[in-house]
């Protein structure tokens, strides 16, 4: 394994952060950021300390149990029942060690909380079981990859540049955790929290770094880090994952441009399709007929819908879709949990119309291209 030189972090951590076999066994891979390696160093320091005390104490106990086992005729001897000097040492010495651990821990913690000034600002929104990351030019990633039991979003980040996420949740508390960076931070509905990291420069000799577009002209190395939700948030808490893809700077800029979506000259349903991914509807609604957390969008437009409270509508129309987006709890389709949070204030009227157009398209009913005049549109 390549030894990762470690510029940051105090001498202790660099000494102990060399990737030993025990650390490999415990952590799987080495941390992918300097702060992460310093935290690993502290963990190993505590580990070796604990092993020492454990072996001493358990060894003594087992030894005493064998040597002083009860044998007929042999009695327990009198021994001193207190020894102030000994008792003081085994109180003060642990305290001193703990003070060292505290300051080392605080050092890594402070570094993880204060982002460097020039960090790039991205806005992360967490909602029940979907992460969405918005880049400065308003772009949200639409690439997804199969991880766990469904496709998860992929977020591209440039290598070797400090990045700060301004995180907010739109329903319950989540927690943004990237195990490779050894940091997590809770995401709250009523205030922003910050999460900053600096991905390492991509090092081709590292086995985890892969090459995209092998052999073609624009091949580039990338390294994936798993994103996990660490604060319990409900049914699909275990599938609220994400992939943080570290790519070279140039590839990152090119990718950002490719993701930008200009609605000019696009059919309403094409804009609707983009919104379907960008607004996170993809997390619960599928477009291939299988039912996810919510009903699938292929069987919505014009269909009969039975609701949980027994009422039903025989032909789904614009008003029903519009109401279900802004106030989902009003009419919950039978057999589905009442889990959808309201998109009040997060989607404009025009977005809703485009999404309705996309649902019509999925149901095979194509309206004419976006002509403002006919409100009804061919049905």
């Amino acid at each position: 394994m390549m030894q990762h030189s470690n510029a940051l972090g105090n001498p202790f951590s660099s000494l102990l952060a060399q990737v030993g076999p025990i650390q490999q066994l415990i952590f799987g891979e080495n941390a992918s950021s300097a702060a992460g390696r310093s935290s690993d160093g502290l963990f190993m320091f505590i580990l070796w300390l604990s092993v020492f005390f454990f072996v001493v104490l358990m060894g003594l106990s087992v030894y005493f149990c064998i040597v002083y086992r009860r044998r007929p005729g042999v009695t327990a001897q009198r021994t001193a029942t207190h020894n102030t000097a000994l008792e003081l040492t085994w109180s003060v010495v642990p305290l001193l060690i703990l003070v060292v651990i505290f300051f080392w821990g605080f050092d890594g913690f402070a570094k993880s909380r204060i982002a460097p000034g020039e960090a790039e600002q991205l806005i992360l929104t967490a909602q029940k079981w979907e992460w969405t990351l918005q880049y400065p030019n308003g772009v949200t990633s639409t690439e997804r990859e199969l991880r766990g039991s469904r496709t998860q979003p992929i977020f591209y980040v440039p290598e070797n540049k400090p990045i700060q996420l301004r995180m907010i949740s739109s329903d319950v508390i989540h927690s943004f955790w990237v195990p490779d960076f050894r940091i997590k931070r809770d995401v709250f509905p009523n205030r922003y929290t910050s999460f900053w990291f600096q991905p390492e420069p991509l090092d081709l000799s590292d086995s985890r770094v892969k090459i995209a577009g092998e052999g073609t002209a624009d091949q580039y190395p990338y390294l994936d880090h798993m994103i996990m939700c660490a604060e319990y948030c409900g049914d699909l808490h275990s599938d609220m994952l994400g992939v943080l893809r570290v790519v070279p700077e140039s590839v990152y800029i090119k990718w950002l441009a490719s993701q930008a979506f200009d609605p000019e000259g696009k059919m309403p349903w094409e804009i609707g399709q983009y919104l379907y991914v960008a607004k996170g509807c993809v997390a619960c609604h599928t477009t291939d007929g299988t039912s996810g957390t919510g009903p699938t969008w292929t069987k919505v437009w014009g269909q009969k819908h039975l609701f949980a409270d027994g009422s039903s509508v025989d032909q789904v129309d614009e008003n029903y879709i519009r109401e279900s987006i802004l106030d989902p709890a009003a009419k919950v389709v039978a057999g589905f949990p009442n889990q959808m949070t309201s998109y009040q204030g997060q989607v404009t009227e025009e977005d809703i119309n485009n999404m309705i157009a996309y649902m019509k398209h999925l149901a095979g009913v194509d309206t004419a291209p976006a002509d403002e005049s006919s409100e009804e549109g061919g049905s």
Binding site: L57, M228, N338
Partner: protein, 591 residues
């Protein structure tokens, strides 16, 4: 040698000799049942608590097995929509469920496991059963200070558990045993079971308060004549400091759960972010109780270990004052450290303060362990089941305590918080600490409580199954946590599957161990041999009465003449001469 001299106390005491043990039925089945259900005898209430707590442990254990079965394989959905790996859903025979519904089912079992184990088993566990039974006996009292209040707290426990069971029958809750808002105030919006489970915890809190209150007054006021504070056994010290925490911490969870019920029913908005409330405030309210209650769980266990370790090594405890004061120190410091459960959600400055204070609480715990190991030096150690469990306690609690250090340090906690490392840590301290010591205490005092011996071989088999099962189950979870497996996940990435499978196998071995113990106890009650009054050569006052003890505990009010652990100087009462040889007397006893 010193013997217990009979003295006629001021008031004339009628003779208790003709009276049978407290277990003697008082007539027909119905009369005995009514007598048991309306008794104010601390021993009967202790036994009733013991069996109720066993039942709750069984319920929690079943939920734990369900959790482990689900985690045998990750949930995957094939392209054509068929779902593989959600074992619980298929076990329950659900048809065409979605991944979300199978996740929800897992969450309900995970919450069930947590809520039952914490509120109905581990908090009342040792104090209500063994504490109720042995505290009065060990300080030479006839009963606890307020016997009727003791019965009332038993019925409040039943009433609270009833609420919990109703919530479970109605479909259980999926909020996690911590009820974090805003999830707990917005989930199952049209169901009542979250309110019922929260009310169950609220009511159980009062049972815990009254038990604690009873014990504090009993220790202050009802000690046998001649028993000063430093003549009391260490189990009494541990129960006393637990009672202080129960009285000082439980009301805060009372008001927290009350506000949560108001939040759910009247939307008072204190914890509701949409109306300006703050979810982290709930976390402060919740953990201000829940960390001290972690010490309510472990302190009685430490008390039992101090008893069994000394009796079965026939050695006076090393550093009696150190252990007694460290019980009180743990009780005091436990109120300062609740913030280390919020490192990822609280402000930077508060997290720093709490991390520093957290390391303070490690000192008294370390002092206790050092003193226990020092006590074993030059003893005469017999490795029967209670002593085996005491050794297992040292093993698991040491691992539990030491693995807590990275959770107390700030930078490592950022990685390990809410991961399986935390699950492994608190199972090593709660299971490896409280349950193991509880088993040590039960095996130590079973013949005294029921007057029947139990088969040593059977219980030793149970011990080995529990030891292997426990360590296999939870030691693997340390590695799951450090490698990035979050807590409370129904499904996981494929690379974690081997460790989860090992852990599940371990949990089955553990369950088998408990069934062996159950069988041994039933066999003991049914056909066990009559137990001797002092079968282990103890010197504390409960060995001066018969086993099972008589209705009023002691024939004559005991007058204490010696400390609880003077094994080298005092002949144990009610034993055949020579059964417990004494070291030759030395002129200058260095007490």
């Amino acid at each position: 040698m010193a013997t217990i001299d009979t003295h006629t106390s001021a008031t004339v005491e009628h003779d208790h000799h003709d009276e049978g043990s407290y277990l003697k039925p008082k007539g027909s089945m119905l009369i005995t049942l009514i007598d048991w259900l309306s008794t104010i005898d601390h021993k009967k209430i202790g036994v009733m608590y013991l069996f109720a707590v066993f039942f709750m442990f069984f319920l929690g254990g079943v939920a734990a097995l369900a959790v482990r079965i689900e985690l045998l394989e990750p949930i995957r959905q094939a392209a054509d929509g068929t779902i593989t790996g959600s074992n619980l859903a298929s076990l329950f025979g659900l048809k065409d469920y979605s991944v979300a519904q199978s996740g929800n089912l897992y969450n309900r079992f995970m919450t069930l496991h947590g809520a039952i184990m914490v509120f109905m088993f581990i908090v009342p566990g040792i104090p209500a059963s063994l504490g109720n039974f042995f505290l009065p006996l060990m300080i030479g009292a006839k009963d606890v200070a307020f016997p009727r209040l003791n019965l009332l707290s038993w019925y409040i426990y039943l009433f609270g558990s009833m609420f919990g069971v109703i919530a479970i029958i109605l479909g259980g809750v999926d909020t996690g045993w911590t009820f974090y808002t805003p999830y707990s105030t917005t989930t199952d919006a049209d169901h009542l079971n979250v309110v019922l489970m929260v009310l169950a915890a609220f009511i159980l809190g009062f049972s815990s308060i009254f038990t604690g209150l009873n014990f504090v007054v009993t220790v202050h006021k009802l000690r046998a004549p001649g028993m000063g504070w430093f003549d009391m056994p260490l189990f009494v010290w541990a129960i006393y400091s637990t009672a202080i925490i129960q009285v000082l911490a439980t009301p805060v969870i009372g008001i927290t759960l009350l506000l949560l019920v108001f939040e759910r029913t009247f939307n008072v908005g204190i914890f509701d972010p949409a109306m300006g409330g703050d979810p982290v405030l709930f976390q402060h309210f919740f953990w201000f109780y829940s960390h001290p209650v972690v010490y309510v769980m472990i302190l009685p266990a430490m008390g039992i270990i101090s008893e069994t370790l000394t009796i079965y090594s026939r050695k006076k405890i090393f550093g009696y004052h150190a252990i007694a004061f460290s019980s009180l120190a743990i009780a005091a410091i436990s109120f300062l450290v609740w913030g280390h459960h919020l490192f990822t959600s609280e402000g930077t400055l508060t997290a720093t303060i709490f991390s520093a204070l957290t390391f303070l609480v490690a000192i008294p715990t370390a002092v206790k362990v050092f003193n226990w190991v020092a006590t074993l030096y030059k003893g005469s150690i017999v490795l029967n089941t209670p002593m085996l469990y005491t050794m297992m306690f040292l093993f698991t609690f040491l691992i539990g305590g030491l693995t807590g250090l990275p959770l107390g340090a700030l930078s490592t906690d950022l990685h390990l918080h809410d991961s399986y490392y935390v699950v492994a840590h608190f199972h090593y301290t709660m299971f490896g600490g409280m349950v193991v010591a509880f088993l040590a205490g039960i095996h130590h005092w079973w013949p005294k409580m029921f007057g029947k011996e139990y088969s040593q071989l059977g219980s030793k088999i149970g011990f080995f199954l529990v030891f292997i099962g426990f360590n296999v189950t939870f030691f693997t979870q340390f590695f799951l946590g450090t490698q990035g497996m979050p807590r409370r996940y129904a499904s996981y990435l494929s690379e974690f599957q081997p460790l989860h499978q090992i852990s599940t196998i371990g949990s089955f071995v553990l369950a088998m161990g408990f069934f062996v113990h159950l069988f041994v106890f039933i066999q003991s009650l049914a056909v066990g041999k009559k137990a001797k009054p002092n079968y282990c050569g103890g010197l504390t006052l409960e060995w001066e009465t018969s086993s099972p003890p008589i209705e009023h505990n002691f024939h004559h009010e005991p007058m204490l003449r010696h400390g609880p652990y003077e094994f080298a100087d005092v002949v144990p009462p009610q034993c055949e001469p020579g059964e417990y040889p004494m070291p030759d007397p030395v002129e200058n006893n260095d007490h």
